[in-house]
């Protein structure tokens, strides 16, 4: 663990700020990432229906295996094509 000295004016908190939450999902593209646990798809099918009803466009993604982090290409693809993402951690 490295400790460094803050190079900024310290006018903002040191912790990384969360991305601003969208006020509405209408018209936004939401990614649903299936981590490949059993029945995650059932859960995500349900979520997709709810999101679509809210006016969101849904893109479905899946990791090759739940045991490893999502591949870089997949993360980039999600980041480039979605406004928000829901990662299903169902088990």
């Amino acid at each position: 663990m490295t400790t460094v000295l803050d190079p900024t004016s310290e006018a903002k908190p040191a912790d990384r700020e969360k991305t601003t939450r969208p006020e509405s999902l209408a018209g936004l593209t939401v990614g649903l990432l299936d981590i490949k646990k059993p029945r995650g798809d059932v859960f995500l099918d349900h979520i997709e229906g709810r999101l679509t009803a809210l006016g969101a466009k849904v893109n479905r993604y899946a990791k090759p295996t739940f045991a490893k982090p999502a591949p870089v290409d997949l993360r980039h693809e999600i980041a480039a094509s979605c406004d928000a993402v829901i990662e299903a951690l169902a088990d």
Partner: protein, 483 residues
């Protein structure tokens, strides 16, 4: 051998501090052994707990705590301590001094009369900052930011928005302490107020960003002076950021500091490849970003930007110039180190490989200078002309002084307003109608900056076009570089 921990307190009697890796200490070691038999002597040894011998009067100071707490700068150092208080000390080896100090008139028979001693490990520049943190605590006040154990340091700094797009060096406390040794100023002193958010910046905060930019401690005084130059009303850093034009601060360094820092004035003088030239201006830009809040896309609204906004610092080739230096033109003496901030676009090459007479080359350079920013605009913006050695030689060989060169250029840079008035030649851009019938100078008096730099071969010079000059915009600002 005995150990005592962390003590600043010295035992009473005579105290010597030595290291094995010192010729003088080795020379003096029989003297210490003799003294140990006749006097109350304690030896602290910095690098080998069995030097000069493995004995109970030899104490391990390999963590250098005793050396650091007692400000040992040289080994051997011999100290007299009474009731826990240092009374006097001598450093190095001198037969006379040691005999007087110990009262032993036969001490050191057969040894050389004098040896200067060696540097104490506790003041070794690679070790001292760590000791200052370990034993002295720290006077640094910046907020500590801990990266998570799985976070990559460089990625963590990108994620926090601290970089200009290139990787930065993690500003650990030890690195910042080392940077601060490059100046005599106190870490807590306010250097200036940084636009656009007008935050006060301390010497410490400047040092943090200088570490991140890749500066060495000896560059630090230039960073401080360059930052002061851009954070003036005259330079107008806020306006330089906010403009949609592609400008940023470009720096010119003059004086002996160029050689001291091994700055590049030759091949690629305006390019890449030299640490000091590259990292000092980068540090200034990082401070404007991190402390001032001048982010691209935020207050920095440049439509296209230019690559010199990562940092461009030109060290003038004074030694190879037949003319006065740029800083002399700006009123400073030749032996004074200065940095000048000039608001500019990146460099643009002027090609003239044919001219052999000064008259021809002056006309050729003037033709290019007339197009600086736009051939349809005059007087509003300055420019910097960076003459290469082969170009400046054409004038020097013909006996032209800098004053003569300026004079000739002035007449070549006079423009008939009618040729550049709005609508002339079917171009809508141009000078307002009110100037019709006048002859106008391309640049305001003093608006053309002349600098000499570049490699020995190549009939090319460069123009760095400026931005709005005068009170409405930005004018060059020069600061003397002091420690």
């Amino acid at each position: 051998m005995t150990e005592i921990s962390g003590a600043a307190m010295l035992p009473d009697g005579l105290v010597a501090v030595v290291k094995r890796d010192c010729e003088t200490c080795v020379t003096v070691s029989p003297v210490l052994e003799a003294l140990a038999k006749t006097a109350e002597l304690t030896v602290f040894t910095q690098d080998d707990a069995t030097f000069p011998v493995d004995a109970d009067w030899v104490i391990d100071d390999t963590d250098l705590s005793v050396s650091w707490h007692n400000d040992i700068e040289t080994v051997p150092t011999l100290i007299r301590v009474n009731d826990g208080v240092e009374v006097e000390r001598i450093v190095g080896w001198s037969v006379d001094q040691w005999r007087t100090f110990t009262g032993d008139g036969s001490l050191g028979e057969g040894l050389p009369e004098f040896r200067p001693g060696c540097g104490s490990l506790s003041v070794d520049p690679t070790i001292a900052p760590g000791l200052a943190i370990a034993f002295g605590g720290t006077s640094l006040t910046a907020r500590r930011v801990e990266f998570a154990s799985l976070e990559d340091d460089l990625e963590a700094m990108y994620d926090r928005g601290w970089t200009d797009g290139l990787p930065v060096v993690p500003p650990t406390e030890e690195r910042v302490m080392r940077m601060l040794e490059g100046t005599t100023r106190e870490a807590g002193d306010i250097v200036t107020i940084v636009p656009p958010n007008l935050h006060e910046v301390t010497v410490e905060k400047v040092a943090i960003n200088a570490v991140m930019a890749g500066c060495k401690p000896e560059y630090f005084p230039v960073v401080l002076a360059a930052l002061e130059a851009v954070c003036t009303d005259e330079f107008n850093m806020h306006g330089v950021l906010a403009t949609t034009m592609a400008v940023g601060p470009v720096f010119v360094v003059n004086g002996p500091i160029r050689k001291e820092l091994a700055m590049n004035s030759g091949i690629n003088a305006l390019g890449h490849g030299t640490r000091a030239n590259a990292t000092i201006p980068r540090a200034v830009q990082l401070i404007v970003r991190n402390v001032g809040g001048g982010y691209p896309g935020g207050v920095d609204r440049s439509t296209q930007g230019n690559p010199s906004k990562l940092g461009l610092m030109i060290a003038e080739d004074e030694e190879g110039s037949p003319w006065t230096s740029y800083s002399e033109d700006r009123g400073f003496d030749a032996g004074v180190s200065t940095v000048t901030a000039f608001c500019s676009e990146g460099p643009h090459t002027i090609v003239d490989q044919i001219s052999r007479t000064p008259e021809s080359l002056a006309k050729s350079l003037a033709a290019s200078l007339l197009s600086s920013n736009s051939p349809r605009m005059v007087m509003g913006m300055d420019a910097m002309l960076v003459l290469s050695p082969e170009h400046i030689a054409r004038f020097a060989d013909a006996g032209w002084t800098k004053a003569r060169f300026r004079e000739e250029l002035d007449s070549l840079l006079a423009v008939e307003a009618d040729t550049i008035i709005r609508g002339a030649d079917g171009i809508e851009e141009g000078m307002p109608e009110a100037f019709a019938g006048h002859t106008l100078p391309k640049f305001r008096p003093g608006g053309l900056q002349i600098v000499h730099a570049g490699g020995p071969a190549g009939l090319f010079s460069s123009i760095l076009s400026g931005w709005l000059t005068g009170e409405m915009g930005s004018v060059p600002v020069t600061r003397e570089i002091t420690a």
